[in-house]
Symmetry: C2
Subunit: 311 residues, 2 copies
């Protein structure tokens, strides 16, 4: 046990590597949906990594990008959205709730990345509050929340206007009494600085991705809001520790055993994303990470068990 009990669910150790469901279980179920979170939890994955963006009226909703992906969104007529993608910040909650995010358009590059994802209908973008309510109920009592806050790529000023999302998220988490089950998580370290100021009782997770690594298709790049890692005067783990972080979440291609060891010496936990292929999962276990964020929790469970590990 620690001052932050939720960290125990992200801490590896002898015989243990933690699994974190990426947007629920994107390989199997529609991402960032209540259906996906419930599936992953039902499958024995306690921790969920998911993404929060604000609507026009500043309601936090769970969706990955600032724009709704046409490849994953159908309109009220049942057809895929086309043309310029809709910006969440310009939509009302009621407008968003009319859209169906239960399936992927298999003709798109994004859709082809997840060929086994089930195709559902009448699935809605959840409000953050819906997931928090579920976590507060008996059936959701085991859930841990790795809550990613998206900041605007255009918010590149010193404070970057990040207080709105921080305030909205922290208020929601506190209103459900889930401070001990949540970790605040972002690529935008200035957002996390704001979190440290307004919610020191909630631990923070620092995402990183070296700029030379390719983005995966269909993902909003968050590199523009992340620190310039090449110009840091220290290593990334040192910078996370200096910022008061508890968890460091590097892109899996940036992970080495030495970097993990360094993070552990600094008292950090390390969870890496998004690790889906068998070889990659094995390599991350070998590198000594505490946790693996994956779209395929079943596959990762089976690999762990095959190596005598649990999650």
């Amino acid at each position: 046990m620690t001052d932050y009990p939720q960290l125990d669910g992200f801490r590896g150790g002898p015989g243990i590597v933690r699994l974190i469901g990426h947007r629920g279980a994107r390989g199997v179920m529609p991402e960032n949906t209540m259906e996906g979170f419930e599936f992953a939890l039902n499958a024995g994955v306690r921790a969920m990594e998911f993404d929060v963006v604000l609507t026009r009226e500043k309601t936090p909703v769970i969706t990955h990008n600032h724009h709704l992906l046409n490849a994953a969104t159908r309109g009220v007529d049942g057809n895929w959205l086309r043309g310029d993608e809709l910006k969440v910040a310009e939509l009302s909650l009621s407008e968003i709730k009319k859209l169906d995010v239960g399936g992927l358009d298999g003709r798109t590059i994004y859709g082809k990345r997840f060929p086994d994802q089930v195709f559902m209908s009448d699935v809605r973008v959840p409000r953050l509050e819906e997931l928090l309510d579920f976590a507060a109920q008996p059936e959701g009592k085991d859930l841990l929340l790795l809550l990613e806050m998206k900041s605007e790529p255009s918010n590149t000023g010193e404070r970057r206007g990040c207080t709105t999302i921080v305030d909205a998220v922290v208020e929601a988490v506190r209103s459900k009494g889930l401070e001990h089950r949540t970790i605040l998580h972002s690529f935008d370290w200035s957002v996390l600085e704001e979190c440290a100021r307004v919610a020191p009782e909630i631990p923070r997770s620092y995402l990183s991705q070296m700029p030379e690594n390719e983005d995966e298709p269909g993902e909003d790049s968050q590199k523009s809001v992340a620190p310039d890692f090449h110009s840091l005067e220290t290593s990334i783990p040192q910078a996370v520790a200096a910022a008061g972080g508890k968890l460091w979440c590097p892109y899996f291609m940036d992970v080495t055993p030495d970097r993990v060891a360094e993070a552990h010496e600094l008292g950090l936990l390390v969870s890496t994303w998004t690790v889906n292929e068998t070889d990659e999962i094995n390599a991350m276990i070998d590198a000594g990470v505490d946790g693996i964020i994956t779209d395929y929790p079943g596959r990762a469970q089976r690999i762990l068990l095959g190596r005598g590990l649990v999650w």
Copy 2:
């Protein structure tokens, strides 16, 4: 609509190929479990193919083989069963209910066949009645049941002592008023003959597999109880039609467009099993089957959608 409304859920047509969840969704979830059936139904697959065997006290339970697979069964101590596999007919319901069928032993050939299946704990072999109760509730109202009855391989006499399982299954289905949602299904055509006699109001499905095709690892062979297809005086579809069958369920390696067309001319519906790989699913769509029984409903859905089809 027909006299048997459940058949509509198995009938293909222009733009439609039906999907049937094989033991729920074995590629993703533990097979023949309530958790698996609920997953598949939630994913929009209405029809489930599953297997019924009797316990020592003649209670119908849902499990595939006459013996519980060691590769899929843990004892009360949490360890995999070892040695001679337990025979369901020799176990009481309470003994079976102590066993955990929530995961696969990945070291086994059977376990390796389904590397993405999630690993759950405290998952029990369901009684048939549990699934029927679920189907009778509002949340299960869309469910259609392709209920396979296993007969003893040793029952090779004329009547083969098959009345016990038929009586138990028919009584259970009738007691829940689900005759219009069920199809009785077997490799043992003498069991189906008995069904015709005692439950003419429930349509019947005739399984076939040519003996030259390999069994998949971990499956009880049902070839010994099936007719000798090579010695039939007619084609298999003709024999199914002559027996009063409504559905013919050939092994996918036995399917040809001509055989499907012949079955359709005879007024039969054709569902084929167990079709998991992309090429196989495409070939079965090309062959004109009405339905595809698959362990991977998400994958099959996506392939259908990619071809402009629904299920």
